[in-house]
Point group: C2
Chain length 213, copies 2
């Protein structure tokens, strides 16, 4: 597992935050961005048309279907999905550029996307956000008020199924209070920096400095 | 990897703090004990004679050579070493009793001991303390002033060799300032609590609560 580009500067960490809908990953991710302003974040590619005000390279990388298919073919997407007629995906070269600069990169993504990424990028840190209970999850989905009741019921059923994917992740964070859950994610991100695979280069430096002296 | 005894209460974490001599693991461990008064710690078994004031079951578990050999045979020592004519070892049943009570257990131990424990208890968290540089390590060993110069040189040579074991561990902490290094160990101990293998039982509870309701 290669974690660094050179002997002296560690790569950033790809932090993948995921979980069933209604678990509150969106809230936690915006809190993380506020607390950690240096956090890089991925910009998705999409084949859908830009909406008024959307800027290419900022909101999305806007691509044609052929371009996205080429990217998939060349392994340049960490994950992708086709939603109705449009492709959405996470560009690997862009994420790797940020990581090589030493930036941690936050990626908020659904469970299918996260599991795709884990296969091609296992050195990422995979965090699963869970609601404190199914009652609470249901209350949150209802409160959004954007969906019809039968849609909500479907979502709730799929959320329950999705919960069982939790043990495919590195960490599970129970989101009872968003601030607390955010602090826990920050704690685990810091701890990941001390992982032997990410810090061994320091030991290497200590040993070799001596040999050279 | 079984991390818990029942469905509702997580096991404690076995925190193994190790590193070359002079890295400062002793200082860090006493700071950890002060910061985390609930931390359990292992009591070693030994075949040496109790010194005046030493209490059996508090300072050591004092045993005969035959008793210790029986414990080794039954797999009841997480690790052991023979130092001159005496055996020293870490009793597995005692450590497991504390973990089952939900207590985290701190174990400060040399590298050989830590690597033995990792084999039989891989769910422990293994932390390697390194000095910021070999110059600093050398200064620390000299400052102790307890050893003759040739003993110090030997220790320094073996410390350099020992550093290369760092990547057998889960975490590497550079001990430049002991307070900072201690805080980093506390951070990683907290993060380990959120590991999926240790928290999946919560998800299990959320899912099953629903089925029963």
């Amino acid at each position: 597992m290669i974690m660094r580009k050179t002997n002296s500067k560690p790569q950033g960490i790809l932090l993948v935050v995921s979980g069933p809908s209604g678990a509150g990953k969106g809230t936690i991710c915006s809190m993380l961005r506020k607390q950690l302003p240096d956090l890089g974040y991925s910009i998705s590619v999409t084949t859908r048309q830009p909406r008024p005000g959307e800027v290419d390279g900022k909101d999305y990388f806007f691509k044609t279907v052929d371009q996205v298919k080429d990217m998939i073919f060349r392994g340049e997407l960490l994950e992708y999905a086709k939603v109705y007629d449009n492709y959405y995906g996470t560009p690997r070269p862009y994420v790797e550029k940020l990581l090589d600069e030493g930036k941690d990169v936050l990626l908020e993504i659904d469970i299918q996307g996260a599991l795709q990424i884990k296969k091609v990028f296992p050195s990422g840190v995979f965090v699963f956000i869970v609601p404190p209970s199914l009652e609470e999850l249901s209350a949150r989905i209802y409160k959004r008020g954007t969906d019809a009741v039968d849609v909500i019921e479907k979502r709730l059923a799929s959320a329950t199924k999705e919960l069982s994917y939790a043990n495919e992740y590195d960490y599970i964070i129970v989101n009872d209070v968003a601030e607390k859950a955010t602090r826990k994610v920050m704690t685990l991100l810091e701890a990941e920096r001390y992982r032997a695979a990410r810090t061994y280069f320091i030991v290497d430096k200590i040993i070799h400095h001596n040999t050279e002296a």
